[in-house]
Homo-oligomer: 349 residues x 2
DNA sequence: GTGAAAGCGCTAACAG
DNA sequence: CTGTTAGCGCTTTCAC
């Protein structure tokens, strides 16, 4: 039988034992210098470092995880790999993972409908030996999945969960305040007939953003015209449908607030299709500031949600949660600030 | 509900040993049931299965990897998390990983410039204990990184590499043929003055796509006007700049072929900005068929590259490469077919 | 068919 | 400051 090891007989990676032998110390000492632990005499440490270098030694993470009882791998659970949100999230998540020496294992939970499948996925993940996962929306709103994940012994950190519950650690933004803020921004620029496109019904952020819009309108004594509120689902297409609706009215809105950037892009497309000029004929704002917001013309004025930063903080929280034992300290949840990014789709009236 | 803390000395997951005890067999037998189920008597197997079920046992992947000498984790190395290409790639990659029981560890190689950083990243990955990685473009073109990865003992499967070299396993498409094909498509619809936007200079696909364009033009006896060829870098912005250029000419092109969808979107924005109507005044095609192609208006006619499928196949190849020993069998490389997706940005002239 | 022993590469717990 | 002894949970030999 052939040796299945990489290149004939030649061992691929040096082990801690070889390093120890070469440095003339015990494995434990090597382990200590590796972990920057207390108390290793400088002379010894130098010899070990030397050996590590000449052997080109790299500790094996799997072994380390096994022996140490804690994994250096963390999971990221999400739903739809092909969207801008995930990309942004990965930027921050990976950044912090690299800093902290973690590795990110990603798991697509797209087939969430059937109980059987959810169970299979949860088993798959808990079998991977990770001990913590970051859960991105909209999976982070699914109590069933969340429950099973926790039942499997996985620590979880939620991104943009349903509410900001006392019993779960999470990173989020204040959707209500943010939506209120950009609505106010529109109002201050003279808009009174403002249309709104609601996000997906199964995501709580949709409701919160609508509430923020409603709040700002009410505060300014402006009525919300029911015919100017359309239900979307966070997709480009749904935004376009809503736009068609708005711009075929006799008395069309002077501004449209779509609950995310993709839908705003759809609204813009619908407007352009009807020969409307933006922002001269109609102003449009979105929400999120994902890549598409600056990859369209005119570039979209929108609410910037610090998605990458949320990923970064989530890794941080997860590390703490895994490390300590008090999982449920509510102050561990983080709410990040948003800001309005002024670009080219809003005109003073 | 109370915290299901694993820290209480309470064991979180059942182990193979507990299963063995419960079933009244040895660990080895459980292991056999888990893996090759053949050589175990049905009665025994049933008892073991029963124990597994009642204990809710899941084998620990890390331990399995360690003991078995081969990892069940595979890596995916890329460069820019926030682009549409990666999202599509993940779809297929994760799909196959799930089918095959692998887990995907992702690594961002964005900071590729400095030697020092590359070394650190390679060490990071080789330390993770993976034994194979899928390398996405444009990292898959970087011979320095590739060399270091292989020197670290990692098996690699390349996606869209520089050439399709004999000594590396890869998944790719025929960029030249694809570009030729869509150029021909434009020509057949009566276009003669066709502009071209080249992709990033550091990616070989740019050159191949240009060659395909050139070939089709030449075959049809059409001259390539130098002023109608602009250098881009695969970004939306660069496409817009090129478009501005084209549409400010006295004798503008009747069609534009941009080397990817993002740039095509930029060209379209520039056209619309100048009041040009698409496809009436000018036809535009892109390349890739990423999400943006159908999330714009009008929707983009483009070359569909089966990115998800490429990811799927890459995982497959990697599994084979890791399993067998003959890494360099050239027939292991795969070239996938492309197709033209006709949407709304091309008009017969 | 099944089991016992011996690790995989590392860290925890105690020694000294 | 450093070494020893045990494993982590699993698979690999090689017995029977």
């Amino acid at each position: 039988m052939k040796n299945t090891s990489p290149r004939n007989g030649k061992k691929q990676h040096a082990t801690i034992r070889e390093v120890a032998e070469m440095a003339g110390v015990s494995q434990m000492t090597v382990s200590r210098v590796l972990n920057r632990r207390e108390s290793v005499k400088k002379a010894t440490r130098d010899r070990v470092d030397e050996a590590i270098r000449t052997l080109n030694y790299r500790p094996n993470l799997m072994a380390r995880s096994l022996a140490g009882g804690k994994s250096l791998f963390i999971g990221l659970i999400f739903n739809n790999p092909s969207n801008n949100y995930l990309g942004e999230l990965l930027v921050g998540t990976l950044h912090r993972c690299r800093e902290a020496g973690h590795h990110l294992v990603i798991e697509d939970f797209s087939v969430t409908s059937r109980d059987k499948e959810v169970d299979a996925l949860v088993e798959r993940i808990s079998g991977a030996g990770l001990d913590g996962v970051i859960v991105a929306p909209p999976v982070s709103e699914d109590e069933v999945i969340l429950g099973k994940l926790r039942a499997a012994g996985l620590r979880t950190v939620l991104i943009a969960p349903r509410e900001t519950p006392q019993d779960s650690v999470s990173v989020s933004i204040d959707d209500v305040a943010a939506a209120d803020q950009i609505t106010q921004y529109l109002i201050e620029r003279g808009h009174k007939r403002i249309a709104f496109v609601i996000g997906a019904t199964d995501q709580s952020s949709s409701r919160r953003r609508y509430r923020g819009f409603d709040l700002a309108m009410a505060r300014n004594g402006l009525a919300v015209d029911d015919t100017l509120v359309m239900q979307g689902d966070y997709t480009y297409r749904s935004g376009m449908v809503a736009g068609e609706q708005f711009f075929s009215m006799d008395d069309p809105p002077t501004a449209v607030f779509a609950s995310n950037d993709d839908m705003a892009a759809g609204v813009i497309a619908a407007a352009q299709r009807r020969g409307k000029r933006i922002p001269d004929d109609v102003s449009i704002v979105g929400f999120d500031d994902t890549a598409i917001a600056s990859a369209m013309w005119p570039q979209l004025t929108t609410v910037r949600q610090p998605i990458a930063e949320m990923g970064y903080q989530a890794v941080n929280l997860l590390a703490k949660v895994i490390g300590g034992n008090d999982v449920s300290r509510p102050e561990k949840s983080i709410v990040l600030d948003v800001s309005i990014v002024e670009r080219d789709t809003v005109r003073q009236r």
